[in-house]
Symmetry: C2
Subunit: 447 residues, 2 copies
Amino acid sequence: MEENGYGELLALLEQGKLAELKQALNEKNPPNIAEFFEEVPQEKRLLVFRLLTKDNGADTFSYMDSDMQEDIINAITDAEMRHIMDELSMDDVVDFLGEMPANLVTRVLRNTDEATRKIINQFLNYPDDSAGSLMTIEFVQFHHDITVGKAMEQLRKTGVDKETIYNCYVVDSRRKLIGMISLRTLLLSKDETIVGDIMEEDVIYVHTLDDQEDTAALFKKYGLIALPVVDNERRLVGIITVDDIVDVIEQENTEDIEKMSALLPSEEEYLKTSVLTLAKNRIVWLLVLMVSGTLSSAIITGFESVLASSVALAAFFPILMGTGGNAGSQASTLIIRGMAVGEIAPRDVLKVVWKELRVGIIAGTALGVANFIRILIINDVSYMINFTVSFSMAITVVLAKGVGCTLPILAKKMHLDPAIMAGPLITTVVDCLALLIFFNVAKVLVL
Amino acid sequence: MEENGYGELLALLEQGKLAELKQALNEKNPPNIAEFFEEVPQEKRLLVFRLLTKDNGADTFSYMDSDMQEDIINAITDAEMRHIMDELSMDDVVDFLGEMPANLVTRVLRNTDEATRKIINQFLNYPDDSAGSLMTIEFVQFHHDITVGKAMEQLRKTGVDKETIYNCYVVDSRRKLIGMISLRTLLLSKDETIVGDIMEEDVIYVHTLDDQEDTAALFKKYGLIALPVVDNERRLVGIITVDDIVDVIEQENTEDIEKMSALLPSEEEYLKTSVLTLAKNRIVWLLVLMVSGTLSSAIITGFESVLASSVALAAFFPILMGTGGNAGSQASTLIIRGMAVGEIAPRDVLKVVWKELRVGIIAGTALGVANFIRILIINDVSYMINFTVSFSMAITVVLAKGVGCTLPILAKKMHLDPAIMAGPLITTVVDCLALLIFFNVAKVLVL
C-alpha cells in the first residue's frame, strides 16, 4: 500500500517513545523508511537510523538520496559502515560511491577487504553509460553438469545474498556463459535431471562495454527481468536487473527531451544542479541558435524596401514564423520519437516524406483558410495582403513538415543524435523559409 | 544473444527444407521468431506458423504486431485459434482483441468457454489507462493458513501456466489480499512453517481503476517485478508484471513528448496512423496557437508608427523572439520533466523561480553581450538600435525563464497537464513579451 505522511512515526519520535518507533519503523518498506527520513529533523537522523535492524538499515540506505547518505556515513562508526557496505549489493555500492566526495570514498575503501576493494575499483572504471556500470555481481551461477537437486541445494544455501535467484546462469569449467535456467524450470524439473540438459542455450547477454540504451532495448524486446553481462572471453561477470533498467529508460527519455529543447543533457536533479551549471547547459545552444538566426535577420534586411513600402506586413511575421515553427516541430518530434522507440528506421524515409507531404497539404490548407478568415475579422488590411499572408502560411506549413521530417532522419544517417533536430533548430530553419516565401509572394502581389 | 538477419532460415524456407526449418525455428526465442515472420513472404506465413510447436506458436503470436495477428487468425482453423487463446495470458488476449475488427472478436469469443468469455468482456471494459487494463489473471495465490510445503506443492502443480511465480499473494477466506510472499522466502523457509506467519503484510497494491502512470510510479519507487490488483473490497483480482510497466513508461513518455510539441497524443505507431488522423492531431493545436499568436500581431500593429520611422527594427524580430522562445522552452522543459519524474513538486515553486531568476540573469547577460558583438560585426545599424535589441534580448531571456518555469507549475496546481505548458505555448507568450519590451525600449532610445 502506498504510504503518505509519517505523522504517527514523527509523533513517536517527538515523544521519545523509541521502542515503539523502532517496532513501527522496522515494519515498513525500506523505500518508505528512506522517505520518512526526509521528514526527520537532521539532528535526529542518526538516532533514528540506529533504530533500524541491520538489514533494514542497509536497504534503507540504498534508497536515500546522496546528500542524506553522505550525512549518515559521516556520522556512523567504521564498524557500522562496514556492515552497510557488506549488505548493499555491488551496484548500489558503486552508485553511492560515485556520488561521494573523495575523502569519503577513501574511508569506505579503507574499510573493505582487498577483494571487494578490487571489484569496486573495477566497477568505478566502467564508463558511465555502459552495461558494466549497471551490473551487480550478486548472481547465481551453476556448473552445467550438476543436477537440479544440487542446484536447488546451492540456491537454498547462498540465495539470500543474491540480487535475484529467479534467473540463474550456467557456465562451463572456464566460467564461460553457456546457458540460462529459471528458478521456475528448476522447480518444475526432477531432482536428478542435469542442469545442462534443460537449460536454455539461446541465452541473451550483453558485454560490459555495451551501451545502456541498447541494453534497455533488449529488456523491452524480450520482456526480461534480468540479463547476464560477459567480458571479452564471454565469461560471466555480472547481471543487470530490470529495476535498474527502468531507471535507465527514464534517464534516456530525459536526455532526449532535454536535447529536443536545446539543452545540454544533465544527469543531476534540477533542484540539486547549481545555477552556473544550469546556465552553462542552456547558453551553449542559445548562442548556436542565435548565430543561425542571423540568417533570418539578413533576409528581412534584404527585403527592407518591400517592408518600407508596406510596414503593415511586419505584423504578420510572428504568426507566420510561429505557425511554421510549430508545424515543423510537430513533424520532427514524431519522427525523433518514432526512431527512439524503434518504430521508424532511416530506410522508411520515403514513406515518411510522402506521409508528411500529404499531412502538410491538409494542415497547410486548413491553417491558410483559417488565417484568411481570422485576418478578415480582426485586421484592417487589403485582400492582397491577407492573401499573401495566408498563402505563405499554407506553403510554409507544407515545407515545415518536409524539413521537420527529413532533418532527424538525415541526422540519424550521419550518426548524429536525431534529438537535436527538434523544435529549436527546425524553427530557425523554418523561420528563414517562411520569410523568403512571404517576401517573394508579397513582391508579386502587394507591391 | 541478439539475433540479426534471418538469412539462414529464409534459405531453408525457399529450398523447401521444412523439417530443418522447423527444428531451427523452434530453437529461437519467440520475440525473434515474430521478427522473422516480418521477413517471410505473406503467402508462406501460415505454412511457417504451422511449423511452430503449440507453445511457441502462442508465444510468438503474442509478440506479433496486430496486422500480422489478424492475418494469422483469419487463416487458421477454429481449433488452432482456440489453442492459441488458451495458451496466451489474459493481458495478451485482451491487448490482441482490442486491436481486432468486430467480426474477428466475435469469432474469437464464440470459440472460448463461457467463463473465459465473461472475464475477457470484463477486461475489455476497463478504461484504457487503468491498472485493470494492464493486469493478468494468471497469478499464484495461497491461503494464509497453509504450510510452506503445501504452498510449494501447489506451485509445482499449477506454476507452469502462471505469468510469474516469483511473487505469490496471500488471501484470507474471503479472497481479500492480506499479504505477499516471494518464492525466495518460500524456498528459504522450512516446509512446516505457516505461510501467514512469514508473509510480508505491508503489501503494496493498486485498485483496478487506478491510473497506469501512478502504477508505474509504484514499480519505480519500490523496484517491483509484480504488483497485485484488487477490487473495491480489496479482493485480489489480478497482477501486473514489470514487462508491461516498461511499455507503460515508454508510452507515457511518448505522450508527454507529444504534448510538449503541440500534438494531440496518439497511441498508434506513426507509420500506421492515417494521414487524416495525423493532420487532425496537429491542426487543433496549430489553430489554438495561431489564434493566441494574434496578440503579437496586434502589438506590432499598435507600434506601427515606431516601426515606420525605423524599418530596420523589423530585422531583429526573429532573433529576439527566437531566443526568447528557446530560453523559455528550456526552463519549461526542465520543470515539466522534473515534475513528471517526481523530482519537483508544486510546493517547490519559490525555489524554482529563484533559481530561474538567477539562471535568467546569467544567460540573459551573456546573450545580450554576444548579440551586441554579433550586430556590431554583421549589421550596419546605429549603436542605439544595437543596444535596444541587445538590452531587450537580455530582459526577454530573464522574463522567458520566469514564464517558462511558472506556467507548468501553475498548470499542475490547476490539475491540468503541465506538459501543455511547453515550448509552443511558452513561445507564443514570450513572443508578446519580447515585442512589448522591444518597442517600449525603442520608443525611448531610437525615436
